[in-house]
Amino acid sequence: MTDVDAASLMLRFQRGDEGAYEQLVREHLGFVVRHARRYLHDDSAAEDVAQEVFLRVYRSPHLFREASNFQGWLATIASRLALNELRTRRRKHWRARSTLRDDHADQRSEDSRDWRPGVNESEAPDEQVLREERMELVHEAIGQLPEKQRQALWLQRFEGWDLQQIGETLQLSVPAVKSLLHRARAALLKELQPALGQAAPQATNDEAESLRGKLLGGETA
């Protein structure tokens, strides 16, 4: 869904069309949950944040300006709520359960998942462990970046946004976003230096394995 569609749906919702609101939730729920999960590393807490985000959209639709980027607006609200949640958790010594939970928590689906990348059945267990470690390292390194840098990086690399969209969301010019991304990348390179140095790209291993198999099996190219 483009932002123009989202803006026109918001306009319809501002005129009282509840169907337009539900459509907006359906279209953007995935994005909001993903965005919140990057901060919280927990699906259940990310859905709680998403509930708060869409509640705010419902209660204050007038705060959305037609010209602005709808997903950018959602990302801003979600970031703020997720950071609040993290601060509350720190204050409460990292209590396991989300503080955003409400009376409806018991209705929550049972299949709550934790922060782990999807499991690939065809992957060897040791490779799976290595991959999970790599993902953990990279998420940890991104998490240590200053707030604007990590948001810019997430939106560009994980959501595929262009510099203009990121700039609108973070209220920065395009050159400022470029510089932000450059600094984020430099910081990641520095932080992940040991990991980047030791691990050879998996593709090379796979290729070598495949070549060895072909040779041993007597296949000809």
């Binding site: 939730v25 359906r26 509930q51 993902m135």
Partner: protein, 140 residues
């Protein structure tokens, strides 16, 4: 300077992380809306702005109370004035007249030891030092 192989390796890891995220299942929008609907019907909680005004309103009596207490304490006699309860005790015991008499005796240098002892016991000499002259004169 950055090792170019590290640069491409970082690129690869970021791409891998993004792909892993894309591979995760999308949240169930129907179940989400099902949980959200009852909350939409709830009345909106007090906004932060309103809450701030309520807090300010609640502080007004406290500030007024503090201001009154400050004024009251400021109007209290200073430490070098005669304490009010000392004057009251002296008046009640009708001692001012007696003290006036004793003082005139003291001036005459005829204060006997027994009288001094009584005055000391009652710690009245110290109290007398603190009394303003016009108080003693008015009592006479």
């Amino acid at each position: 300077m950055t090792d170019p192989s590290h640069d491409s390796r970082l690129e690869q890891i970021l791409e891998e992380a993004a792909a892993a995220e894309r591979a995760r299942p999308e949240p169930d929008a129907d179940a989400f809306l099902e949980r959200l609907r009852p909350r939409l019907a709830e009345p909106a909680p007090t906004s932060n702005k309103q809450r701030t005004w309520w807090r300010i309103a609640a502080l007004i009596p406290l500030v007024a109370g503090l201001a009154w207490a400050f004024t009251w304490f400021a109007s209290e006699p200073q430490s070098d004035d005669v304490p009010r309860d000392t004057v009251a005790v002296i008046e009640e015991l009708d001692l001012l007249e007696e003290l006036d008499r004793l003082l005139s005796v003291e001036e005459a240098g005829a204060l006997d030891l027994e009288t001094v002892k009584v005055l000391e016991d009652w710690e009245l000499l110290e109290a007398l030092d603190g009394l303003p002259d016009d108080l003693l004169e008015s009592s006479g």
